[in-house]
Structure formats: C-alpha cells, structure tokens
Symmetry: D3
Subunit: 70 residues, 6 copies
C-alpha cells in the first residue's frame, strides 16, 4: 500500500529507465518493510528545467553555465 513519488528533471528519461525505477523501489519496500508489491504505487513526475531551482537558480541556467565552462 505504500506510495512513492519520484520527482526528476525532464531530461530524456526512457520508458525502460522508468520501468527500472518502478521495479526497483517496489522491491526495496518488499525487502525493507515487507510491503505487498501488488498494492505499491510509484509515480514519476518529470519537471521542466525552467521549473526546478536549486541554490536560488533554475537548472536551465545551471546547465548553461556548466556548458560554458572549459
């Protein structure tokens, strides 16, 4: 019955990787807490890099700075 919400930036995560995340976190809840995998829900939110900030700056700006560094 656990719910897991994974929030990541929208930067080309494939359907296969999403499936791996969902399978992996479901198994983790079985292993650590003995939860029933059949009712474990995992939702992945992909967030635009303009809409995600860390250190007071959007990820879009940080990616641009990283790109310009030698």
């Amino acid at each position: 019955m656990p719910l897991v919400n994974i929030r990541i930036t929208r930067e080309g995560v494939s359907a296969k990787q999403k499936q791996q995340l969902i399978a992996g976190v479901t198994q983790l809840l079985v292993d650590v807490l003995g939860k029933n995998p059949a009712t474990t829900v995992v939702i992945i939110d992909e967030v635009d890099t303009d809409n995600w900030g860390i250190g007071g700056q959007t990820i879009t700006m940080q990616r641009a700075i990283e790109k310009n560094q030698p």
Copy 2:
C-alpha cells in the same frame, strides 16, 4: 480552505468529468466537515501511463498485457 489533490492516469478524462470531480469533492467537504466551498481548492494531476507503476510495473505494460488476453 481544504486542499484536495486527485492524481489519475492521463487517459482521456474530459473537461466535463473534471468539473464533476471538482464539484463533487467540494460538496463532500461541505457535507462531512462543514467546510466553506468558496475557499476549497481541488487540483487534478494527470500522469502518463509510463510514469505510473503498480505491482512493480508501469500501467503502460499492464494495459498491453490486458489487451493481449483473450
């Protein structure tokens, strides 16, 4: 003042159905808790079937399996 967040898979919910969900859940909070409908907020998140997992599998995979069953 209550906040309600409804998360469903993105599978063709119409604007009319969204309106029915919002009206229905707002009325429920009036009926059960006596909340003021004017300040009751309802947000519906539609999530891609690739991004929603249950039982360790994405909904996309489950829909494909269901389709292939006789």
Copy 3:
C-alpha cells in the same frame, strides 16, 4: 488506481468523519470515471493551524481575530 490527498487543518476531525470522506471520494471516482474502488487510495493530512496560511496570515491568527469580533 487513483490517489486522492485531502489536506485540512487539524481541528478535531473524528475517525467517523475521516471514514465518510474516504468512502465519499472513492464513490465519486467510481461514479464519474468508472475507477476501481479496490485500488483507490485516499490520504488525509491534518495540518496544525500554525502551519497553514491564507491571505499572508496563519489560521491560528485568523481564528484569534474571529474570536475577538463581536
């Protein structure tokens, strides 16, 4: 499979009222979207009035003002 999160202030909601909210919103999702009630999850978060603000003011402060009004 839908998930519903209801956030309300912590002001003495009874176990019976919580049960009514959960039953009511689950039925609404059956009626409007034809969702399976067996996998519909509803989580109620109760939030202290010090931790909830509207109009730039905590609910604690607003309740105090309301109380002092004739």
Copy 4:
C-alpha cells in the same frame, strides 16, 4: 535543505518570473530560518485551468464568466 513546491495555474508565466520566484523564496528561507541556499530546492508546478477548481468550479469556467461580465 528545505523543499518548496509552488503550484500555479498555467497562464503564461515567463522563465524570468520563474527565476524570480526561485531566487525570492530561497532568499526568504535564508533570512527567516538561516537555511543554506545551496541545498534549497524549489519546484514550480503549472496546472491547466481545466484541472484547478475553487468554489466547486474550474478556473476555466471562472475565467469565462469574468470575461462576460461588463
């Protein structure tokens, strides 16, 4: 280390405004709580006006009513 989630309607917020929100809320957490800005995360969710309800009505419907008022 704080996390901030800002949910607004999707109505043409610019990248510059998003940057201002992220910078402003990060600074607020430094000023009020002395938090480290380097690990402060801000995520902005833009929600379609069909998917946001207040007073039992979608914002889409409310915008239409406002437009028709003299």
Copy 5:
C-alpha cells in the same frame, strides 16, 4: 537532485529501516539514472491508519477485520 517522497502507514517503522529505505532509493537513482547521491533527497511520511483509506475504508477498519478473521 531528485526528490523522493515515500508515504507509508505509521506502524512501527524503525530508524534503521528508514535509513535502509533512504540508502536504497538513493542508490537506485544512481544506478538507473546516474544521479548525484549528494543532492538526492528522500522524505518519508508516516500516516496514521485512520487517515489512510483504500477500497473506501480506512486501514484501521481493515486491520480490525483482518484480526477478527480466523
């Protein structure tokens, strides 16, 4: 930079189990997506069984029914 939110019922999860969940899900994001563990945040919410419903019923009620079954 990913954020993970794990919501489970409040039923005696130990500090050691929480640590295992946090370490496990952080490693999963490294393995599947190559994310930086240093900025991966995991938050565990424990929810009272009165406040969690599935199948239109609180977990409290479901635990009571299970207990009475032979």
Copy 6:
C-alpha cells in the same frame, strides 16, 4: 489562488518564524506574478530528522557526525 508547500526539518521553528515565512512567500507571489494574496495558501510541513535523507543518510545521522567533528 497559488498554493505553496514548504517542507523543512522539525528543529524548533517558532510560530513567529512560520508567520514570517507565510507572509513573505505570499508577498513574493503578489510582487512577481500579481497573484491575489487573499486566496494564496501556504502550508508548512515539518519533517522529523529520522524521516529526511540527503546523500543516502538521514539528517539525524548527519547531525550526529557534525556534532562529533572538532
């Protein structure tokens, strides 16, 4: 109408600081987006340090390590 959710560790934030956070973020949404403060909602979630992880470790463990450093 915006909603803001601030999640911080539960480490002695005062009612006054919460009021400052709520007032500050509400004003920010007025200044940057011209939002109506009367319908701006801010919710602060305080999370136990056992339930918050970063870098694969709970904050409880990190605080203990910091304390033991000369």
